[in-house]
Symmetry: C2
């Protein structure tokens, strides 16, 4: 049994969709960001970093979306969510996911979580003003150079697809000009129609 610690509207959705795609048996534990539960002593025992997602497994806890996604893919090889036995193709996939976590998600985080890196209200407002451009530039790089189509890595659906979809949920709130990234938007629409994506979102938004 796998247990996913998640919060709605966060990057934990990527792992949630991947668990469904893998055909895994999993349970969900919601972490309530409104009450700051991610910083509670109980949750810090699960993830000392005080963030979601975390995945409890029989061997212990895993964190960090790219690592969790690769674990899900490798743990359920019959689902074919990552190239097996091809180190180069696997590395290309991991490079895509690493760009999402280290650059794209980070650019987005400056709109609402600027206090991680600065203290003054004027700085936080400056970061918020820049988010449409910094997030937009990331997605234009994806649009032009990285998204192969129809899926991120080409003909085959992989763990990169739910991760890109998850971050693309935030484009409107981030103020990005969607007309400049039509292929990303088409990918997002196609993902939104998949039953596992609809199931995962419905589970996260349930009362």
């Amino acid at each position: 049994m796998l247990t996913l610690y998640y919060a709605a509207h966060t990057c934990s959705l990527a792992s949630h969709i991947a668990l469904a795609d893998a055909g895994a048996v999993y349970e969900l534990k919601r972490i309530d960001f409104r009450t700051g539960e991610q910083q509670s002593p109980d949750y810090l025992r699960i993830n000392p970093k005080g963030r979601v997602p975390a995945l409890a497994t029989q061997r212990g806890i895993l964190t960090e979306t790219p690592a969790m996604l690769a674990f899900i893919a490798q743990g359920f090889p019959e689902a074919g969510l990552a190239p097996a036995d091809d180190a180069f193709a696997f590395a290309e996939l991991q490079a895509f996911n690493s760009y999402l976590c280290s650059t794209v998600h980070v650019a987005h985080a400056h709109r609402m979580r600027g206090q991680r890196w600065a203290d003054e209200e004027t700085s936080l407002a400056d970061m918020k003003r820049k988010a449409p451009r910094s997030v937009g530039a990331c997605f234009e790089t994806i649009e032009t150079h990285m998204l192969r189509g129809p899926w991120v890595m080409g003909d085959r659906y992989t763990i990169a697809d739910p991760y890109l979809f998850t971050l693309a949920q935030w484009l409107e709130a981030d103020g990005v000009d969607l007309t400049r990234i039509p292929r990303v938007i088409e990918h997002r629409s196609r993902m939104a129609g998949r039953p596992n994506v609809r199931k995962a979102i419905a589970e996260e938004l349930a009362p």
Copy 2:
């Protein structure tokens, strides 16, 4: 043949050390940040993201340190730089490296590269003031919860070790209080004594 595109004093050092540890045959191409070579048309054809490192392989170009490190480990399994055939242990290792790229390196980047996320001089100065605390908090998390010892993942040296060592090069410049992270500093000292580490640093600093 593998070709590493690098710049001194950047995170490309991690992959450089790993290539030496793997016993790989590699050549080095220095990218001159002083002249902005990372944004030159020639280099953007190699890495459209305009960053280092990049690794040219027979199959194509790889970017993003966690993906490159895993590729090096998997491509040279006899060097034993990552757990083979154990998806959980591999995911734990990738989670550590993912934290380095998405949180630790990002905190550091706010000291000198704040213009990625804000425009005003006052914001950049604010970010610079906060870097000792934000980078320091990351390394205290590593010190307390993540660095197993003697190597990052425990008894076995892995690709997490050169990556942690690389980011720990910047602690003094980031203004972090080293007395709070003695295990990280001990690890850094032990890494600095390894012949491959000395070789990689000497190659990068050569005229």
